[in-house]
């Protein structure tokens, strides 16, 4: 199996004045193509820091991070932006949709920054929305959609660039149980179609949907086990 994520001795230290805080204290792990992994940990465990580094939103202080074979641990901000655009699809807890734009314009955003021509962008955005079951909602603005539908739009946005990795940060944190099941089913379906998914959550119930659970505590991975969920 081809590795999508390879972390070796990753440390992250935050400094505020004279106080140093080590959020990650040497994380080593490898996530292969097609895996569905949940990162679980209570707040303050370093889970968010790990998510930022995995998402190329932040550089590690020490250690190396290979994303799809590319060393991203020492890249500049502009280079990281380009890697995020090309390799990673984000799904956030607060959806982060732009309320003034219709669904398809939200979904096409990553393609705008990738320099894809306008006509192709619309076509691909509609394709991605169809894939998440919102073919009849392409012109609706986020305010006209339910929470579950909004998160589906966000998933479509994460899919549209065909990224190597889908990084979902508490994607069900703001949803009721019906919508939660809905979004988890969608992720499961994408996993079934061969996508690599990393789900960050503090809920064990949500994490059980993934094949593999990484438990993080005090900046270190304390447990790494398969859940037995079908691949």
């Amino acid at each position: 199996m081809k590795a999508i994520i390879e972390l070796a001795g990753v440390r992250k230290t935050y400094r505020s004045g004279s106080i140093e805080f080590e959020a990650l204290r040497g994380v080593d792990t490898r996530i292969d193509e097609g895996e569905y992994v949940a990162v679980i940990g209570p707040s303050g465990s370093g889970k968010s820091t790990l998510m930022n580094i995995l998402g190329c939103l932040d550089n590690p202080t020490e250690g190396s991070y290979l994303l799809a074979g590319e060393d991203v641990s020492r890249m500049s901000e502009a280079q990281l932006a380009e890697v995020r655009n090309r390799r990673i699809g984000f799904v956030f807890q607060q959806f982060h949709l732009l309320s003034s734009l219709p669904a398809w314009r939200n979904v096409e955003l990553p393609l705008v920054y990738a320099g894809v021509p306008r006509a192709a962008r619309r076509e691909r955005a509609i394709e991605a929305l169809t894939r998440v079951g919102l073919a009849d909602r392409i012109d609706n603005k986020p305010g006209e959609l339910s929470g579950g539908q909004q998160q589906r739009v966000a998933v479509a946005r994460a899919l549209v660039t065909e990224p190597a990795l889908i990084l979902a940060d508490e994607p069900t944190g703001n949803l009721d149980s019906a919508s939660t099941a809905d979004v988890l089913a969608l992720l499961e379906e994408l996993h079934g179609a061969g996508r690599t998914i990393v789900l960050i959550t503090h809920e064990h119930e949500v994490a059980r949907n993934a094949q593999r659970n990484l438990v993080i505590r005090d900046g270190e991975i304390t447990s790494d086990e398969l859940t037995g969920a079908h691949a």
Partner: protein
């Protein structure tokens, strides 16, 4: 993300916050329209002065007497001395001495009451020669001008300005009627066509012109002194040559040095320059105030852009997470600020033009707006948008995506 996409996104963002964008632009709009109007007013006033002075005639030199000092040592202003005479006019008219003078018209001027029947009217009575009509580029609309014979004979004839004619004769043509000038009855032989302008408070259309010999007889003058000698140069190119020749001639015949010259020669250009110097001061002053309002408008743009960056911090974070580089974000905000500035500029220019059309009717002042001023105003507005957008844009570009996404 190419420029077209960036501009489109900028316009979308502006349209998403219509009220705020409109208020932001208002500062620029007011600034630009007031600059357009003040500059237009200044230009209009200058044009008017130029027109008035050129209405005096073309290629004109105006020779007036110098200052005089009375027995108590009180010095009077230019024109107070009676040092210019008919002899000077004759000398200037001599083609061998002043070859660049085409035509010479000596004039005297007094304020005198005219009476026609029951009506009286005090006006400026000008005594001159037949050349006056050509030198001053005037025309007779009714009747005729006096002839050289009438000048020689000091005939009792008068030509009225159009306003004077209207004041004295409400009905019918004044030609052939009689007016009494200072008690002497005179025949009205013609009426001047309106000159269409007034200069320095005295209407060119309110005067009574008669042969200089008649005027001197009426005033009892025996010295032959004149108040002004109008000289028309051969062409615009020979104007300064004519100036030099007349200056040398009069210094010589009056027997004075250049420092003690007892006369003054003005050209139309020098008159225009003098008149415009006051206008210019006013234009600069008003333009300065308008420029300050533009600056305030620019600060308004910066303020709103900073608010916009703060308010859209999550949007910026999201765009960055999705692959927008810092330079793309900077460009987006810069373009937004420029679009605000440019739109404000265009609206401001439009309002300026409306004002320039409406205002002359209200304040009786011409406003002339030039294409150059328009382009400069729009350019300034755009530059303001860019200039005051740089700081907010770089603030937006510097935001880290995590902090921006997490902010509430």
């Amino acid at each position: 993300m190419n420029w077209f996409e960036t501009v489109r996104a900028g316009i979308e963002a502006i349209r998403a916050h219509r009220l705020r964008s409109a208020l932001t632009m208002l500062g620029i709009v007011i600034g630009i329209s007031s600059v357009i109007l003040t500059v237009g007013l200044g230009q209009g006033a200058q044009d008017q002065v130029k027109q008035q002075i050129s209405a005096l005639g073309s290629n004109l030199l105006i020779v007036s007497p110098g200052s005089s000092t009375d027995a108590t040592g009180m010095r009077r202003g230019f024109g107070s001395a009676s040092t210019l005479t008919l002899n000077d006019a004759t000398a200037i008219a001599d083609g061998s001495v002043v070859p660049d003078a085409k035509s010479v018209a000596p004039t005297t001027s007094t304020s005198t009451a005219l009476t026609a029947g029951q009506t009286n009217w005090t006006t400026s009575v000008v005594g001159t020669t037949t050349n006056w009509l050509g030198v001053r580029t005037r025309q007779v609309s009714d009747g005729r001008f006096f002839t050289a014979d009438e000048v020689t004979q000091a005939a009792d004839v008068v030509v009225l300005g159009s306003d004077t004619a209207t004041q004295l004769f409400s009905f019918g043509s004044p030609v052939g009627q009689t007016v009494s000038v200072d008690g002497t009855p005179m025949t009205v032989i013609g009426v001047l066509a309106p000159s269409g302008s007034s200069s320095s408070g005295t209407s060119e259309d309110d005067q009574a012109v008669m042969p200089i010999s008649t005027a001197m007889r009426l005033s009892g003058s025996t010295t032959g002194s004149v108040s002004t000698i109008y000289v028309e140069a051969m062409s615009a190119n020979t104007l300064s040559a004519a100036y030099q020749e007349i200056n040398a001639l009069l210094l010589n015949t009056h027997g004075v040095s250049a420092d003690a010259a007892d006369f003054n020669i003005a050209t139309q250009d020098s008159l225009v320059a003098t008149a415009n110097s006051t206008n210019k001061t006013l234009t600069v002053l008003l333009g300065g105030i308008a420029a300050i309002s533009l600056l305030v408008g620019g600060i308004g743009v910066m303020n709103i852009m900073l608010v916009s960056v703060t308010e859209r911090i999550r949007e910026i974070g999201l765009r960055k997470a999705l692959g927008a580089t810092p330079s793309v974000i900077r460009r987006q905000f810069l373009v937004e600020a420029s679009v605000l500035g440019l739109a404000g500029g265009v609206i401001g220019v439009a309002i300026g033009y409306v004002g320039a059309t409406v205002l002359p009717g209200l304040i009786n002042q011409p406003v002339s707006v030039s294409a150059f001023a328009t382009l400069a105003a729009i350019g300034t507005a755009l530059a303001l948008g860019i200039g005051f957008g740089v700081y907010p844009a770089s603030r937006a570009a510097r935001l880290t995506p995590i902090d921006a996404l997490r902010s509430e």
